[in-house]
């Protein structure tokens, strides 16, 4: 397969087209706009639906409508857009229709800035909207991985009738890397047996997130939990680097994980037995794998481009078996490998104690 040099946002858009996406609805926002622009050009060429909505609120409800017909549909945005989409996301979840949402994260809160960030972690793992539901969340660390995950996202969304988020930070969206794109898959022609589209020769179908009887809503809730259990059993994804003999483990997802990998390699060259654990599915979270690592390592270092949002999940997974340290950059700042390497050095020279409070220690270091 030929490799092409593509910008992350463009590569993700083209990957979606090749995965047979039939409709795209979105609203411009940096750092994801190239994704929308690529769709604007390519979707009509393929005879598929593209529409620039009047807002993210409208965009997600267009996605909702198209999803109810059983079409492969997606949108993309950044944090402020996810905030506006929260309502529609919840309705999609409550109606149990599949959809793919790409979040190219930027600095926040508020208008923040347009630099790369991982500040939406908590927002997306809970799906942003109200009520009990469980979206699948995938986090690529390279343009190639983003392409691969986009392709998988549609299949997973349909398999579990769920929302799948692909969370890329601004650097994945903006950077150019060589990628091989998959062979195009034609859009599916057949429609699932729950989809609306005209009651021709069959009883009318209704798709709703309204269940006025609590006992019926509870059944729906339980079904969502059951699906979530199935996702937890089958869809955990992570990457391991140099972990076989590692005494120290760095944990990070997306760009933070990628930066950390450079630092781990540098530390290995110095003879430090350190490895990297990079969660790819942020939900379901690789809790068991992290617990196993905790049982056989001396210390954890969590690296993120936020204030330690995944840190809490890592600590919960580690169950106090290993002391945990944290290093984060925020507000659109990306850590340099040198900074992470210095943290790895500190892990060895001043090992964390079980009582150490990782966020407090990191904060003292950042604001001193």
């Amino acid at each position: 397969m030929t490799r092409q040099l593509l910008k992350g946002n463009v590569a993700m858009a083209e990957a979606a087209i090749r995965a047979g996406v039939e409709a795209y609805f979105g609203y411009p926002i940096t750092p994801q706009s190239e994704l929308l622009e690529w769709m604007a050009k390519r979707m009509p060429e393929e005879g598929r639906a593209f529409l620039q909505a009047e807002s993210e609120v409208a965009a997600i409800n267009m996605v909702y409508g198209a999803a109810c017909t059983g079409a492969r549909v997606m949108t993309s945005t950044s944090g402020p857009g996810i905030s506006l989409m929260a309502e529609g996301i919840s309705y999609i979840a409550g109606t149990e229709v599949p959809a793919v949402i790409v979040d190219v994260m930027r600095g926040g809160p508020g208008l923040g800035n347009i630099a790369p960030s991982q500040g939406d972690y908590r927002q997306v793992i809970h799906g942003a909207g109200h009520g009990d539901f469980f979206p699948l969340v995938l986090a690529p660390a390279s343009v190639q991985e983003a392409v691969d995950l986009i392709g998988e996202a549609f299949d997973l969304a349909e398999k579990y009738r769920t929302i799948v988020f692909v969370v890329a930070d601004g650097s994945i969206g903006q950077m150019m890397e060589p990628v091989s794109l998959p062979e195009p898959r034609p859009p599916r022609r057949e429609r699932p047996d729950w989809a609306v589209g005209g009651a021709e020769g069959r009883p009318a179908r209704r798709l709703t997130s309204l269940y006025l009887k609590p006992e019926v809503e509870e059944e729906v809730n339980l079904r969502l939990v059951q699906r979530w259990q199935a996702m937890e059993a089958n869809e955990i994804r992570y990457r391991e680097y140099y972990l076989d003999d590692a005494e120290y483990v760095v944990l990070g997802f997306g760009t933070a994980g990628r930066v950390a990998l450079s630092a781990v390699r540098a530390a290995r060259a110095e003879g430090i037995k350190v490895g990297l654990f990079r969660p790819v599915s942020l939900r379901p979270f690789p809790t068991e794998a992290i617990r196993d690592l905790a049982a056989r390592s001396k210390a954890f270092l969590v690296v993120e481009m936020n204030g330690g949002q995944m840190l809490d999940d890592v600590q919960a997974a580690a169950q106090g078996q290993v002391p945990v340290r944290f290093y984060g950059r925020m507000g659109g700042m990306v850590p340099f490998p040198d900074e992470v390497l210095a943290e790895i050095h500190a892990l060895v020279s001043e090992p964390p104690t079980p009582a150490e409070a990782p966020r407090a220690r990191w904060l003292a270091q950042m604001v001193s």
């Binding site: 039939e22 529409l51 267009m62 909702y64 409508g65 109810c68 549909v73 309502e87 009318a204």
Partner: protein, 264 residues
């Protein structure tokens, strides 16, 4: 004793009124004197007459008509509050040969959903909107709507709508008719049989606009909410005639040339 065989009635019965095929055989949850049920029936009759039942997808709003899909024998979905036009857009863009309509109250369409309705109309989205203007929020217990008349008492304007504080009613048909994407925008009333017949004709033309791909179509129906207006059904009908019709003039605000010569 022999019993005589019952004699057949001499007259033959002619069916003059029956449930449209597109209308489900379901007891109503609407209050006595509420015109939601009448509006549902008109939609169902039009869908039947046009032979569209198997091609139609209806979108229920958040409001008293939230369960509208239960009353129809065609496919239906339920939208978030105000977002029905966006959801309709999503459906229509992937299924352009299907008939897609939204059914929305005034709170849904003119307050929280103002953005979605204006942009759907501006894009000339080939959908039909049945807009129920009853000058109040029915489902949540009678709060002020954007269409509430000046001095009208609601639970959130207990002293009557004070335009100096709460602003003025919004005339949606007039606003939407200014948009080039709109093919058919009219206002009718539901307060007596003659007006209801005119309303049905308008609903027919709105769906004709969609079938012909002419653009966005909307029928605003001045409707009752006797429960929250605290009136009897008869008083409510009169209140529509005496108070709403003067504030919301009935008429054709936009009729595409192709529809002007159409006789239905």
């Amino acid at each position: 004793m022999t019993v005589a065989a019952p004699t057949k009635p001499k007259t033959t019965l002619k069916m003059v009124y029956q449930r449209p095929e597109a209308l489900a055989d379901t007891p109503t949850h609407y209050c006595p004197g509420c015109t939601h049920g009448v509006a549902h029936r008109l939609v169902a009759e039009v869908i039947d007459e046009m032979g569209l039942r198997e091609k139609t997808i209806g979108i229920a709003p958040v409001g008293c008509a939230v369960l509208a899909y239960d009353y129809f024998e065609f496919d239906g979905v339920e939208a978030a509050h105000g977002r029905a036009p966006a959801m309709a857009t999503g459906i229509k863009r992937v299924l352009p040969d299907r008939i897609v309509f939204t059914y929305q109250g005034d709170g849904d369409l003119a307050s929280i959903g103002m953005g979605e309705i204006v942009h759907a109309a501006a894009r000339g989205e080939r959908i039909t909107v049945i807009f129920i203007n009853n000058a109040i929020y029915g489902m949540t217990g009678g709060q002020m709507a954007p269409t509430t008349l000046p001095n009208q008492i609601t639970t959130s304007s207990p002293g009557g709508r004070d335009v100096a504080v709460q602003g003025f009613p919004i005339r949606m048909s007039e606003i939407l008719a200014t948009l080039d994407g709109a093919a058919y925008v009219v206002r009718r009333s539901m307060h007596d049989p003659a007006n209801i017949r005119k309303a049905k004709k308008a609903i027919r033309l709105a769906f004709e606009a969609q079938v012909r791909g002419l653009g966005f179509s909307l029928v605003e129906l001045l409707s009752t909410c006797p429960t929250n207006w605290k009136m009897t059904p008869a008083e409510a009908m009169n209140w529509v005639r005496d108070n709403m019709v003067p504030a919301y003039p009935l008429g054709d605000y936009k009729v595409a040339p192709e529809l002007q010569k159409l006789r239905v």
